[in-house]
C-alpha cells in the first residue's frame, strides 16, 4: 500500500512539472532557448579552446623544419638507412615531412656553384614558404630548381636548358630548369636537383649530408625525441632548430592564454544572462507560488517542483546546446584551419552538467524569495 501511495505521489509530481512546462509554452520556450544558447557557447568555446593548440601547432609548421638529423662526430655524411632508422622512432601521425639534403659543388654552364640533392615532394611539405617561379620538377625527372640569386646572375629563366658537370666526372648533362626559388635565405645561392640523380653523379649512393624533419610537437616533446634518437641510433646527432621551436612555444602559449581568457569571460557573461532570464521567468510566477501555499503546500514541495522544472529545462536545453556547440566548433575549425575535429564526450558532459546546475540555481533563488513571503501579500498583488 505504501508503495502505491509513493507511486501516485511521484506520478503527480511528474504530471505537475510536465503540465507547468506545457501550459506555459511560450514562457518555457524562452527559458529553454536561453539555456540552449548558454550551452552552445560553453561547449563550442571549450571545444575550440582544447583544439586550438593542436590546430595552430600544425599552422606553425609553415616555419619549416624544427628538427635536424646531422651526422654524429666529425662525419660529413650520414647513410640514408640511419636516417630512416631515426625517423621510424617518430609518430607517423605527427610527422609533416622529412627532407634529406646532400650538399656538394657542381658547375652550371661552367660556373662553380653549391648544389643540394633533395626530394622535391618532401621539400614542398617541410618548407612550404619556398616561392617558386615556374614549376616544381616532376617526381623522378632530371629537372632542377635554382636559387633566385644565381638565376639573376646567370640570366636563367624557367624552362631554359643548362649544362651540369661535376668534378672528377667529365660527362656533361643537359637538364631543364623547372623553377626558380625565392626564400630570402641561403637557398637562393643553391642549385637543387633530385637526390638520387646527384648521388649517382657523385658516386655517393645511399648517403645524405643532413635531413630536415618537420613534426608537430612542443619543445619538451622534441627534446625527449632528440634524446631518444641520440641514444637508440648511434651515428645520428639530432638537433633542435631553436629559433623555430622556442618561438613557437612562446607564441602558441600566448594564443592559448588568449582563447582561455576569452572563453572564461564569455562563459561568465553567458551564464549570468541565462540566470537572469530564468529568474525573470520564475519571478513571474510568484502568484502561483502564493496560491499553492494558501492551499496548504509545503515550502519544500514547492521548491522541489520548481527545481524539477529547472532541471528538466536545463537537461533539455543543455542537450540541444551541446549539439549546436559542437557544430559551431566544427564550423570554426573547418573555416579557419580547414580540418575537422572529433567529438569530445567529456566536453559535452561538462556543458550538460553546467547548464543543469546553472538553471537549477537560477530557479531556486526567486522561488526561495517567493516562498519566504506571506501568501496573502503575494496574492493581493504586491
Amino acid at each position: 500500500m505504501a508503495g502505491d501511495k509513493k507511486m501516485t505521489k511521484y506520478s503527480m509530481y511528474t504530471k505537475m512539472i510536465w503540465h507547468a512546462l506545457l501550459r506555459r509554452r511560450s514562457r518555457m520556450l524562452i527559458a529553454l532557448m536561453a539555456v540552449a544558447i548558454g550551452a552552445t557557447v560553453v561547449s563550442g568555446l571549450v571545444t575550440i579552446y582544447y583544439d586550438v593548440p593542436r590546430q595552430m601547432g600544425r599552422e606553425f609548421r609553415s616555419y619549416g623544419a624544427n628538427l635536424l638529423l646531422t651526422p654524429a662526430g666529425d662525419q660529413q655524411i650520414i647513410s640514408e638507412s640511419l636516417v630512416s632508422n631515426a625517423t621510424s622512432l617518430l609518430q607517423a601521425d605527427k610527422l609533416i615531412g622529412i627532407a634529406p639534403y646532400l650538399y656538394d659543388r657542381v658547375k652550371v654552364n661552367e660556373q662553380p656553384l653549391q648544389v643540394a640533392g633533395t626530394r622535391f615532394q618532401s621539400v614542398k611539405k617541410v618548407s612550404p614558404y619556398w616561392q617558386i617561379r615556374g614549376n616544381w620538377p616532376e617526381d623522378q625527372s632530371e629537372d632542377i630548381v635554382i636559387g633566385a640569386d644565381i638565376a639573376e646572375r646567370l640570366k636563367i629563366e624557367p624552362g631554359q636548358q643548362v649544362t651540369l658537370t661535376v668534378a672528377g666526372n667529365d660527362t656533361e648533362k643537359k637538364v631543364k630548369v623547372a623553377g626558380i626559388v625565392r626564400t630570402g635565405g641561403p637557398e637562393e645561392e643553391f642549385v637543387f636537383l633530385d637526390l638520387s640523380l646527384l648521388q649517382q653523379m657523385l658516386h655517393k649512393e645511399g648517403v645524405v649530408s643532413i635531413a630536415q624533419v618537420s613534426i608537430t610537437a612542443n619543445e619538451a616533446e622534441l627534446t625527449a625525441l632528440t634524446q631518444k634518437i641520440g641514444q637508440q641510433v648511434p651515428g645520428v646527432a639530432p638537433r633542435l632548430v631553436k629559433q623555430v621551436t622556442q618561438s613557437e612555444q612562446t607564441v602558441l602559449g600566448k594564443l592559448q592564454a588568449l582563447v582561455y581568457l576569452v572563453t572564461i569571460v564569455v562563459l561568465l557573461l553567458t551564464l549570468i544572462c541565462v540566470a537572469t532570464t530564468m529568474m525573470a521567468v520564475v519571478t513571474e510566477r510568484r502568484k502561483e507560488i502564493g496560491l499553492k501555499k494558501a492551499l496548504g503546500a509545503e515550502n519544500r514541495s514547492i521548491i522541489l517542483e520548481f527545481l524539477g522544472e529547472g532541471l528538466a529545462l536545463g537537461a533539455l536545453g543543455g542537450l540541444m546546446g551541446t549539439i549546436l556547440g559542437f557544430f559551431f566548433a566544427q564550423a570554426v575549425s573547418v573555416n579557419v584551419f580547414g580540418r575537422i575535429i572529433s567529438f569530445q564526450p567529456l566536453i559535452a558532459l561538462l556543458a550538460l552538467v553546467v547548464s543543469i546546475v546553472v538553471t537549477g540555481l537560477a530557479c531556486l533563488i526567486p522561488v526561495k524569495i517567493a516562498t519566504d513571503v506571506e501568501p496573502a501579500i503575494v496574492l493581493r498583488g504586491e
Binding site: Y63, W130, E284
Partner: protein
Amino acid sequence: MFWQMLKGALVRQSRKMFMVAITIALGVSLTTAMLNVMLDVGDKVNRELKAYGANITVTPRAASVLRDIYGLESGPGGAGQYLQEADVGKLKTIFWANNIVGFAPSLETKAIAGTGDVTVVGTWFNRQLELPTGEVVETGIKELKSWWTVEGNWVSDTDINSAMVGSTLAHKLGIHTGDTVELVLPGDSRREKVTVQGLFNSGGPEDEQIFVTLPFLQKALNLEGKVGKIEVSAITTPENDLARKAAHDPQSLSLKDWETWYCTAYVSSIAYQIEEAVSGSRAKPVRQVAESEGTILQKTQLLMLLITVLSLAGSALGISNLLTANMMERSREFGLLKALGATDGDVLLLTLTEIILTGLAGGVAGYFLGLGFAQIIGQNVFGSAVAINMMVIPWVILSVILITLVGSLPAIRMLLSLRPAAVLHGR
C-alpha cells in the same frame, strides 16, 4: 502625461528594469571587449611573432657583382661591398618607420682562433641610437634574437674588447666565460684580444661563431663606418595577390595599384622603401618568416572573429529573451491600459521608450565594463594594454539599438494581439 506614465513604469518596475539593464550591460561589455580585442589581436600577435627574428635582410647591392665578376671574396677592399653604418638610422625615416621594431647591422669576417678558422661577426648588441628626428631608439641583436639562451652576460656595446661565443664553438675550443681569446684577423694578420662575456646557444649556425662589438671589428679590419648586412624586423600586413605581383616587379603595377601597394605595410613594400632610403642597398624579405607570419595572423584573426560572432549572437539572443519574458509578465498592465482607451500606438511608444532608456543606461555601463575586460585580457595575455578603438563605439550603439528593438519584436507582437478582456480576466 506620457512622461509621468513612463516615470511611473520605470520606478514601479525598477527591479525588473534593473535586471534588463544588467543583461544589456553584460551583452554590451562582451561586445566591446571582444571587438576591441579582435581589432587589436593582429597587432599583438604580430609583435609576438617577432620572436622568429628578422623578416628583411639588407645587403649591399654591389657585393655579389664584385664577387662574381672580379672573383673578390668578402674581405677588405672595394667600397661598394659595404653599406654605411651612418645610413642605418635612415631605416627609421621611411613611410612605415613605426612598423620597424628592431634592426641590427653586422660585419662578418673569417679569423683564426686557437687552432682553427672561425667566423667573427661584429654587431650591435643593445644600442641606443639617436635618430635624425631627435628620437632615441634601442635596438640590437639582444632584441632581434630573443630565442638565444645566454650563459654569462650580454655584451655591452660600449665595452669594445668583449665578445660572446657560440656554445658549439666554445665546447670545441674549451672557452669559458671570463676567458681571453686571441683572434688572428685576415689582411695584415693583426692579433687582437677579446674577453668572453658570455656563451650563447642559438640552435643555429651562429653556435659556431664569435660575436664581437661592431666598432672593434671595423677598427681591426680598417673598415671604419662600414657594415656588411642589416637585419630588420618589421611588422607587416599578410601578403595578397597585389603584394605578390609587386614583389616580382613593382614597375609592372598601374599607378593606382602602385600607390595602394606603397602605402600598405606589405613586407615587399617595406623592403622597397628601405632600398630607397639606404643608398646602394638591396633589401630582401626572408620568406620563411614573412610568409608564415601572414598565415598565422590570418588564422588568429579569423578565429577571433568567429568567437566574437558566437558571443555576440549569444548575448543578443539572451537580451531578446529577457525582454520578451519581461513584457509577457506585464500583459495585465497593458491590458488595463488598452481597456482604459490607450491605442496600440500609445502602448507601443510607452514600452519602446522604456526599453530604449533602459538599454542606453545598460549600454553605457556595459561599454566601460567591456573596456575593463579587454584590458584584463590584454594585460594577462600580452602584458600590454589593448588599444581602445573608437571605431567600436558606433558598432556598440548600433548593436544595442538593433538588439533591443529586434529583441522586443516578439513581445511587441504579443502586445498588439492582446485582448484586454481576456488578459484582465486572468488568462
